[in-house]
Amino acid sequence: MSVKQAEVSTTSPRGHIGPAKHLEREPQSYWRLALQSLRRDKLTLTAMVFILVLATLAALAPVLTDLLIGVGPNQTNPDNALAQPYLGPYLKWHLGVDIRTAPRMLRESGGVSHWLGTDQLGRDQLARLLYGGRVSLTIAFVAAFITVVLGVTIGTITGYFGGRIDDLFMWFINTMVSIPGIYLLIIVSAIFKPNPITLILFLGLLGWFDTARLIRGNVFKVRALDYVMAAQALGASATRIMLQHVLPNSIPIIIVNMAIDIGNLILVESALSFLGLGIQPPTATWGSMLDRAQNLLFLRDPVTSAPIALHLIIAPGILITLTVLALYLIGDGLRDALDPAMKNV
């Protein structure tokens, strides 16, 4: 036995007996376990990376559009309306497969590379997708945040205090939940024609019910636990109890739900914008871009008879699908990591 080992075994405060420290595993906290589990889940990690990349691209939209394209998302150019995506011909040009189409397109668009084509007013698709992504993502994230804050607050309050307050809020929640969500959203949007800020408020105000009920349920469970009653007997304040005991138990489910909520909100906002009720033009969002594209579905190129608006329909839809998919996968992955009992085997 070296001196060091002897030191370890005799000087450790806990009178340590057992394998040497460097062979010992650290006590695993709940979060540690979760993180480890997550690190092994490649799919969820990919999804998270995707969302991060998307958010960064969207945030950097002004810079990127200047660098890559040269025009803004709202600059119209009717002479170059419904131009096909430049990306394909560009690749073919540099691969030597087709050296004529790309330069011609470049000439016709006045030197601007419209990587994903243009819409019916000649506005660049890629720029609009980036800017639109900013709008859509911001709305979804902020609204989801609002629903979480509202849901947790109200759920905790009604669950803890019970009685009349609980009755009142539950009545209100039951009422709102009885109206089909899509009806409520359509009616509210048709009447008030929201801008991005008011839309965020609407979505936030109409989305907290499930979270509140969930938290309330958790509060009930926790309230009945012995150690909570003990804490109350010891004089712990309501806030302290809720923060220390109720919330930590609920955080996993809140996080999981939030990821899925963000996904849902993106779908909802794009559906509303598609119907003409959400964000109004000229602000681009992925949904409103599809709305305009819908009118162009039937237009065909007069010479080739090929449908000319295909690129307008595919890109925004794929982006929405991938973003929502990533968010759902993150939600699933988080659920797997954070609650082993909830695992999808």
């Binding site: 309306a81 000229p282 305009r292």
Partner: protein, 590 residues
């Protein structure tokens, strides 16, 4: 397992990069010139073809000369469904599209000039003072159940409008009528309260079959006939109505102008404009109102015909001549003019002229309206031929003149911030339009840009329609982009200019335009005793001159309609005021 999913999602993400859409052979050219076909001036007059009696006839047919064959169903696609098939209480255009084929009317509009022409009434005279009109009716028109269409139907329909038991938006018509007499079934005597030359067309509503209703008009509002008209005196009989889907009409063999060759006419609801075009091209429908971006596709399709016409509407920017902080009515209770508190910026006619010179109208018409528009100099549309002042030139796009006018008016950019000031007040204005109308929104952005480039500081926002018209009505706005439609074939628009209609909260003279000369001319023009065109024309030409010089509105563009229809039909001969005026002559080309 998870690895597999991972692999697939990577493939999907990677696949995006390769996706680039079809490589086109050529790129669509967008038609950007302002192509507006003037409506053809007809020399020949269309005379109703009566099949029973062989009289001298001159039938104008635009297509082949093969004899018409029986059969065929003509299908029109519309964005919205009709609401009510009752000619006196309907209020939407879609309902009218169906009503026009069923209910008879006393008088009609010439499809090409908009003037009043005989229909049920063969002829009419007026009294000396212009207040009493006597109409002589044809005696050969019957409802499909045999009952004759006569003076009683007219009296019943109009008295119903005035009745308390009926909610009609047309009470303003009967308010101006003192009395209706029917001395015999073929004569109607209408006495007006005052001479109103635009009142004659008000007598051209579709008429109800009076023999099917109770005398006290109480069974009109809730009647099942509003959804299923049982009888018809028009070219088609009502067959069925599936709400939000289609209205089906069948040939009326008893139609007095002659039984239609068509077997039926269907009004189909197709809300999506793209789908309407698709169905037109596939032959599922025969007629649509085309959107500007669809015109290229239609023009290149050899199976389709396009009818362009100048519609009875225009879009404009309303300039509030009065101070929005202090809206006042134009007249007080006794009818005396109330002095208006002028708008600090727009009250100066030179500023308004400067605005008129600052807009690049050609760019607007080609970019925003995709070429489907035309310049207007004043308030009367060229579709009203006899009153349109052809001598006036619309304000040209001339930034130098605009700048000079502003400078002379005292608006100078003294601090170099790009915005002009005068006595310390910046040249700042609010511009608004209704959200959801993409054309107007695009227009707003362009106008804002163009005015800001010359030293204005314009703040533009698209707001909800209800709020917008409240602002307009209450006169708390600076500039609003909006439009008028359905102005009708009479040039009288006193509601927009007369001081008596400057009433914050309800009047349509929302710009607070005050000009005693205009007031007088408007009153004159509409009360010419026999409403003869020769007497009215100079009055309206003068009105247009003054309006043009005073710039209460910036006239942006007249609306252009585009009706696209299937070329397989012959006999179609549309005018700007009516497409179906000779529907009984439509037939399938051989």
């Amino acid at each position: 397992m998870k690895k597999f999913l991972y692999a697939i999602s990577l493939m999907v993400l990677g696949g995006l990069a390769a996706c680039s859409g079809p490589t086109p052979e050529s790129i669509t050219e967008v038609v950007k010139e302002t192509v507006v076909v003037e409506k053809e001036v007809r020399e020949t007059v269309i005379v109703e073809v009566e099949k029973e009696v062989v009289t001298e006839k001159e039938v104008v047919v635009t297509a082949t000369t093969a004899p018409p064959q029986q059969g065929g169903v003509f299908i029109e696609a519309s964005s919205t469904d009709a609401s009510l098939l009752n000619p006196i209480i309907y209020s939407d255009a879609a309902s009218f599209d169906v009503i026009q084929h069923i209910f008879p009317a006393l008088i009609n509009q010439d499809p090409f000039t908009g003037e009043v022409i005989p229909d049920l009434a063969e002829s009419w005279e007026t009294s000396e003072d212009g207040l009493v009109w006597t109409f002589h009716l044809r005696d050969d028109i019957t409802w499909s159940d045999g009952d004759p269409v006569d003076a009683q139907d007219f009296k019943f329909s109009y008295e119903a409008i005035a009745s308390d038991n009926v909610d009609s938006p047309r009470k303003y018509i009967t308010d101006g009528i003192a009395g209706i007499e029917t001395p015999d079934p073929q004569t109607i005597v209408v006495t007006f309260n005052e001479v109103r030359c635009d009142g004659l067309l008000n007598l051209g509503l579709g008429l109800l079959p009076s023999h099917l209703y109770g005398d006290d008009y109480s069974d009109i509002m809730e009647s099942s006939y509003n959804e299923a008209p049982p009888v018809s005196a028009g070219p088609f009989l009502f067959k069925s109505w599936t709400r939000d889907d289609n209205v089906v009409l069948e040939r009326n063999p008893e139609y007095w102008k002659g039984a239609p060759y068509l077997e039926g006419w269907i009004y189909k609801v197709v809300p999506d404009p793209g789908a309407r075009l698709g169905q037109l091209q596939s032959g599922e429908v025969d007629l649509i109102e085309a959107q500007p971006e669809q015109l290229t596709t239609i023009e290149l399709d050899s199976n389709l015909e396009l009818f362009k016409y100048k519609d009875d509407g225009y879009s404009y920017i309303a300039l509030n001549l009065a101070n929005p902080e202090n809206p006042q009515p134009g007249q007080d209770e006794e009818g005396n003019l109330v002095e208006q508190d002028p708008h600090p910026i727009l009250g100066d006619v030179n500023v308004r002229k400067a605005i008129a010179h600052s807009l690049d109208y050609d760019a607007i018409i080609s970019k925003v309206y995709l070429g489907q528009g035309y310049r207007l100099a004043a308030n009367v549309l060229p579709a009203i031929e006899w009153a349109y002042n052809t001598d006036l030139q619309p304000y040209p796009y001339d930034l130098e003149t605009a700048a000079r006018l502003l400078e002379e008016a005292g608006w100078v950019d003294s601090d170099g911030d790009g915005v002009r000031e005068k006595d310390g007040t910046p040249l700042s204005l609010n511009l608004a339009t209704n959200a959801g109308n993409t054309v107007r929104e695009d227009l707003g952005v362009l106008v804002q840009d163009q005015l800001n480039s010359i030293g204005f500081d314009i703040t533009f926002e698209a707001i909800e329609f209800g709020t917008l018209i409240e602002e307009l009505d209450n006169q708390t706005f600076d500039m609003i982009i909006i439009g008028w439609t359905g102005l009708g074939p009479d040039p009288n628009d006193d509601a927009f200019w007369h001081t008596q209609f400057d009433v914050p909260g309800s009047g349509f003279n929302a710009v607070s335009y005050h000009n005693p000369e205009i007031d007088q001319l408007l009153e004159e023009g509409v009360s010419v005793p026999d409403c003869s065109i020769e007497k009215r024309t100079p009055i309206y030409k003068k009105i247009q001159e003054i309006i043009h010089a005073d710039v209460p509105y910036i006239f942006v563009s007249g609306t252009v309609g585009n009706t696209a229809y299937n070329g397989k039909w012959q006999g179609i001969n549309p005018g700007p005021w009516a497409f179906y005026h000779n529907v009984e002559q439509f037939s399938l080309a051989q």
